[in-house]
């Protein structure tokens, strides 16, 4: 079923008068309302039919559907737990279908820590409503009141011993519109939600099972490689491919404008031909980039769209004494371990694309536009890839595969990018500048003025071919649409720019820079990482100036009891009040509520800095997290631990290098990331569970607090505060004087 069918079917069903009596007990999980304002919980309004989410066949086999995708965050396990909980079946009995443009609801992108919040809430409610229908059907079948029935592992059982399977009761009868509220199981009796069930995908991943799009082998499949231009804006001027056409295994060379690819029977034949093709291609390349050392000045000189996103009280005037600081963040990359990959096949008038995109539907629209066909002619199926952490090369590889497959009708085409292509062509997290002017009076922040400058944080496909790299390189290129700021409350560059503290006088301005000298898009947590880094760095500094303990200083400005709870828990578990104070040794703290509306995370970090070499060593990290009802606590811990390590890597080591002609970070030696030797001795995560509260998501909540706590610990240990990310090289310079 597709989302567009649903509206028609829903109307038909409502007109037909199928009466579903579901009694209401409004538990807090239902407060996770859809953004569309339909009143349906979570993503239910994206496909308002129960069988868009849950189906039961005549044998009682349960299939759950989600428009979200497994990115390695464990959603395939968590969503089964949720469905099983309300259906009263076991999680392993449920088949789960994930993002597929022909099978699932259109839930947009799997991004923003929304999977459990949106899809999990939809499935929770759909499953509860299906269970109600099952019980109602049994009640009618046996003419027994529902009070005498119970659902039990796929069967309805009566108190006088009758028993009937779900399949017999409701198979094919779930094409029913959902209600706005559901009779939900009480959290006190949960059997699966809140339990750390092992991930369903890990066994294949530790034993070489088919786990990724990279592992697909379709009959007759050929391998393709792309020859990308040497840099942004380069045009293919001249190509003599005659010799390459005769290389072993070469099936075809595909050229359209500056899009260039080669197809071969075997994978390494494609790689060899790609190398030869790259050597044969002559490009025209403008010197398109600013100098890296001038990038922040360059960005600040670009026209910007300024909006005031907070204006409270009367912040201090220019003439009054205040703390002032400017922070800078270099471009940083997703840097997936596996380069992007996709398989596409053009057959019977339909282009099927197996892709590790975060959004099969918006990618479908973009690919259809690129190919000049109707959306119905493109079928995108999510298949796992290497972790993406946002919008990386996945969508572009899918577009590459589709273009090549269009030139080879019938044959499945597998494309994988090379390492240097992933590093140099993926859309990075934008460079950013933040500026704070603040004053403290009587131990409290009396004035807070904050400004953030950033390019966009989303150039995702969004049904527009102009967002696909390959489409930009065609002879008739698709133009990239003008970038737009992501509106609050989620925000883009201004995500988490509004302080969470009770500052009486505060003003926050967002300067959105439409220009993007380097290709940029969504990197895990978008602007929140930099805004939390800035805010929490300054809070630590202001606390120092005021002579107040940094944790106590934050608590003075926090009213929200859940915020206070994570701050207090992280401080206590870390032993903040007893922390080590020694030369070359330092502790740092940070707190944020992600997007000002979802997961609460507080972190404390201990680090040392070698005062002769400037080398930073992380020692330990302690986090406290409140993500509402935790579905799989170990899954939450894994996300927060991983988020900490990744954000620590960004903070210490990562900056995309470039010169006038192009990107110079083209492999792991020119873009180093954290290795085992730099990982701390321990990372502890403490979950403050909130049974029955709405799901808040866990995937990105750690990024800001982790970066800031690392920064604060390093500043304390080094005795000097660096305000440009990443820190390690600058700390060496500061400590050694060279």
């Amino acid at each position: 079923m597709s989302a567009s069918d649903d509206k028609v079917s829903r109307r038909a069903v409502l007109a037909g008068g199928t009466a579903l009596v579901v009694s209401f007990s409004l538990l807090p999980a239902l407060r996770a309302r859809s953004a569309a304002g339909s009143g349906l919980p979570g993503s239910l309004d994206r496909a308002p039919m129960l069988d868009a989410w849950i189906r039961i066949d005549e044998h009682g086999r349960v299939t759950a559907f989600t428009g979200k995708a497994e990115l390695g965050q464990g959603m395939k396990t968590a969503l089964r737990q949720i469905a099983a909980e309300e259906l009263f079946v076991t999680p392993d009995s449920i088949e789960l279908i994930t993002a597929d443009t022909e099978l699932t609801a259109n839930e947009g992108y799997t991004a923003g820590s929304h999977t459990i919040m949106d899809s999990g809430t939809a499935i929770l409610n759909a499953a509860a409503q299906v269970r109600a229908i099952v019980l109602n059907a049994a009640s009618q079948k046996w003419s027994l009141p529902e009070a005498r029935l119970r659902a039990d592992n796929g069967f309805v059982v009566s108190d006088d011993g009758k028993r009937v399977g779900y399949g017999e009761l409701v198979a094919q009868r779930l094409h029913v519109a959902p209600s706005a509220s559901s009779r939900l199981t009480s959290p006190g009796s949960y059997r699966y939600i809140g339990k750390s069930l092992p991930r369903v995908d890990i066994p294949a991943k530790v034993s070489g099972g088919v786990a990724y799009v990279h592992d697909l082998r379709l009959p007759g499949m050929v391998h393709a490689r792309i020859v990308r231009p040497p840099g942004y804006g380069a045009r293919l001027r001249d190509l003599d491919a005659s010799k390459i056409e005769h290389m072993p295994g070469v099936v075809k060379i595909v050229r359209d404008g500056s899009f260039l690819a080669v197809v071969a029977e075997r994978e390494y034949q494609a790689v060899a031909a790609m190398t030869a093709l790259a050597a044969a291609a002559k490009w025209e390349q403008p010197a398109a980039l600013p100098e890296q050392r001038e990038i922040f000045t360059h960005l600040l000189q670009q026209p910007a769209q300024t909006s005031t996103i907070l204006d409270r009280g009367t912040p201090a005037g220019e003439s009054e004494p205040a703390f002032e600081a400017t922070f800078r963040r270099n471009y940083q990359m997703h840097a997936s371990i596996g380069p992007a990959c996709a398989v596409a096949q053009s057959k019977d008038g339909v282009m099927t694309v197996w892709t590790h995109t975060q959004g099969v539907f918006p990618l479908r629209g973009a690919i259809a536009q690129m190919l000049g066909v109707d959306q119905e002619r493109v079928h995108c199926i999510h298949t796992e890839g290497s972790g993406c952490y946002g919008h990386n090369g996945a969508d572009d590889a899918a577009a590459d595969a589709a273009l090549i497959a269009a030139a080879l009708p019938g044959r499945p085409v597998r494309v994988q990018w090379m390492r240097e292509q992933e590093h140099s062509w993926e859309p990075y997290g934008s460079a950013m500048v933040t500026k704070v002017r603040a004053a403290v009076k009587d131990g409290r922040v009396s004035s807070w003025q904050y400004e953030v400058w950033s390019s966009t944080h989303s150039t995702r496909p969004s049904n527009n071919a102009g967002n696909l790299l390959a489409a930009q390189h065609l002879a008739k290129p698709h133009q990239q649409p003008p970038p737009r700021a992501i509106p609050l409350p989620d925000g883009g560059g201004d995500r988490n720019a509004i302080p969470l503290y009770t500052f009486a006088n505060a003003k926050v301005m967002h300067h959105f820079i439409p220009a993007m000298p380097l290709r940029v898009s969504s990197l895990r947590s978008l602007g929140a990482y930099m805004n939390v880094f800035t805010t929490e760095s300054v809070m630590e500094e202001l606390a120092g100036q005021a002579g107040v303990d940094p944790v106590e200083f934050r608590l003075r400005h926090l009213d929200d009891p859940r915020a206070r709870a994570v701050v207090e828990a992280a401080a206590e578990k870390f032993g903040w009040s007893r922390r080590t104070r020694a030369a070359g040794h330092g502790c740092g703290f940070a707190y944020a509520r992600y997007k000002n509306q979802s997961t609460y995370v507080a972190m404390a970090v201990e680090a040392s800095v070698d005062r002769s070499s400037g080398s930073i060593q992380l020692l330990r990290a302690v986090a406290a997290v409140d993500c509402g009802q935790a579905v799989n606590p170990d899954g939450v811990r894994n996300q927060i631990e991983g988020g900490f390590i990744q954000a620590a890597s960004w903070t210490l080591f990562e900056a995309v290098g470039f010169d006038r002609s192009g990107i110079t970070s083209r492999d792991w030696s020119s873009y180093p990331i954290l290795r085992f030797s730099s990982a701390p001795h321990s990372v502890e995560v403490h979950i403050i569970d909130r049974p029955g509260q709405p799901f808040l998501g866990a995937g990105e909540g750690a990024q800001g607090p982790a970066g800031a706590a690392v920064g604060n610990a390093v500043a304390a240990a080094a005795g000097v505060r660096i305000r440009e990310l990443p820190l390690q090289a600058a700390v060496i310079t500061a400590v050694t004087g060279s």
Binding site: L71, G72, Q73, P198, R199, D201, I202, P203, K205, V206, S207, G208, G209, V210, A211, Y212, H214, R217, H223, R266, E267, Y268, Q269, V271, H334, A335, S336, I337, G338, P339, E384, G385, S386, G387, Y389, Q416, M418, R419, D634, N638, Q639, E641, G642, G643, F644, I645, Q646, S649, D667, W668, S669, I673, L674, R675, F676, S677, A679, P680, S682, V683
Partner: protein
């Protein structure tokens, strides 16, 4: 034709002798575990054991591999009969996306074969060659420790049997 000895079986392959082993494993022998990560021997995703040493397969032409014993993750256990390290990675849930996991397990296997009771520092140093972007480093370290502890217990029971 080159005879490659992979996971206890001999496979005559007709790929160009300059083809790196990784492509032959994945494309010709249809083994999934070893992954293309960088093609530059910088990340460890493609690691396999060659005569019990963990090496990146992405830059190693098959020309010199006839007669060598090649073991991939598949050779360490599959399906219902997983190896000690594979069990340990599941027990510690030491993965997110899992793309680096094969290389991690193969790399750790080489260490435990040589030194079944490494110190934490030795584990960390040995694993330095392998990159993970999801940040499951702490779990990987715990999984290798767990597998090592398991081996110690098994060796006490049967000194011959225990394999990582």
């Amino acid at each position: 034709m080159i005879d490659l000895h992979v996971n206890g079986h001999t496979h005559p392959v007709d790929d160009d002798p300059q083809t790196p082993l990784l492509y032959v494993l994945r494309d010709t022998l249809q083994l999934n575990a070893a992954k293309f990560g960088c093609g530059l021997a910088q990340c460890g995703s493609c690691m396999v054991l060659i005569d019990d040493e963990a090496v990146p397969s992405c830059v190693m032409p098959i020309a010199g591999l006839a007669g060598k014993k090649i073991t991939t993750l598949e050779g360490l256990g599959s399906g219902a009969s997983l190896g000690t390290l594979q069990h340990a990675f599941i027990a510690e849930q030491a993965a997110q996306c899992g793309y680096c996991t094969s290389g991690m397990i193969v790399r750790a296997h080489a260490l435990l074969m040589r030194n079944p009771a490494p110190t934490d520092a030795q584990i960390r140093e040995h694993m330095e060659t392998n990159l993970c972007r999801c940040g499951v480093h702490m779990r990987v370290l715990r999984a290798v420790r767990r597998a090592s502890d398991e081996l110690q217990k098994n060796r006490k029971r049967d000194p011959q049997a225990a394999q990582p």
